[in-house]
Symmetry: C2
Subunit: 193 residues, 2 copies
């Protein structure tokens, strides 16, 4: 692995676990064995380093979902929803540091003044909510789901799943124990009575 990739990986972990402000260049330097000057050489500034991380996260999340759905068919919208929730949680476990970073405030604060940052965050957010929405639209078409506002309900669904990831990240409760209850709740919420 190249030194640049090393830095990106270590910085992702530090930004995710300590926050942008508390993660220092010297700490990234120590963790990677690269001099502080090397970090700046590759990424220009600490803020640009964060942007590179977010760009990387965006690319990977979109790729992973595309790969997952490639040639896949679902017996119903309701079962697609279950699949999507499962895969979302699986991905949040695989890319735990990126998802943790995306749950912090700083990227969204930066997005207020930095259009590039805003672009990455919106792309990720839209990718995720779009997938929930697609499952709902399918479910409403095949009659497995009741009639409600697809986009708004997709956002509520997103909140529920994101909340479980948050519980896991904060260690507030055994998230695994909540998984089956979450799926059951989603089913009750969406299904055609």
């Amino acid at each position: 692995m190249s030194k640049k990739e090393d830095i990106l990986k270590a910085a992702t972990a530090l930004f995710a676990h300590k926050g942008f402000q508390f993660a220092t260049m010297s700490e990234i330097s120590k963790l990677t064995g690269a001099a502080e000057g090397t970090i700046i050489y590759h990424f220009k500034s600490k803020e640009q380093l964060l942007l590179a991380i977010l760009k990387d996260a965006k690319t990977r999340i979109i790729e992973e979902f595309e790969k997952y759905f490639e040639g896949k068919t679902f017996e119903s919208g309701l079962s697609m929803m279950e699949d999507v929730v499962s895969f979302y949680l699986y991905l949040a476990g695989m890319m735990d540091e990126q998802f943790l970073l995306l749950q912090r405030h700083y990227p969204y604060q930066l997005a207020d003044t930095n259009p590039e940052c805003r672009e990455y965050l919106e792309a990720i957010y839209n990718c995720l909510v779009d997938i929930f929405e697609k499952a709902i639209l399918l479910g409403q078409a095949d009659g497995s789901m009741a009639d409600f506002h697809p986009r708004k309900t997709a956002m509520i669904l997103f909140s529920m799943v994101d909340g479980l990831v948050r519980f896991k990240n904060y260690n507030l409760y055994d998230a695994g124990a909540l998984y089956s209850e979450l799926i059951a709740s989603c089913r009750r919420m969406l299904r055609n009575a």
Copy 2:
């Protein structure tokens, strides 16, 4: 209003909107007209100032819910749940800066090493989830809600409502437009079919 209260209020706003690290003592000083020495005089340190804010938030949130439920009766668990969700969102609007601060990571990071901080956060969290749980237990007793795990479902409910507050805080979507969809989703999720 005393200078100490002024500082507490200004610091709450700054910690909520900028984050603990990016909010500086000199900024709090400028906003309140109090010298930096005065802030330290009243609160000992920046961290102690945050703790005072969290203690204040804890006290007020618990008080407000106690006041709200004083002598109140509900026709069913399902309608109590609606009332609770409404009041939660109302309170999150009234105390927007405290709720925003409680959605940041830093307080939970501090809680890892500071037992006092942990105590305040747990008290707030338990207060909120307990109220959802009470509504569910009532609903299951009076038959308006289906049979599921009360505590776990209360946590999922909490996630949903908390997510809507987050949407509002991040300005990602008009949260008001989501309110009626949220209530409807909760009803479908909880009601006895």
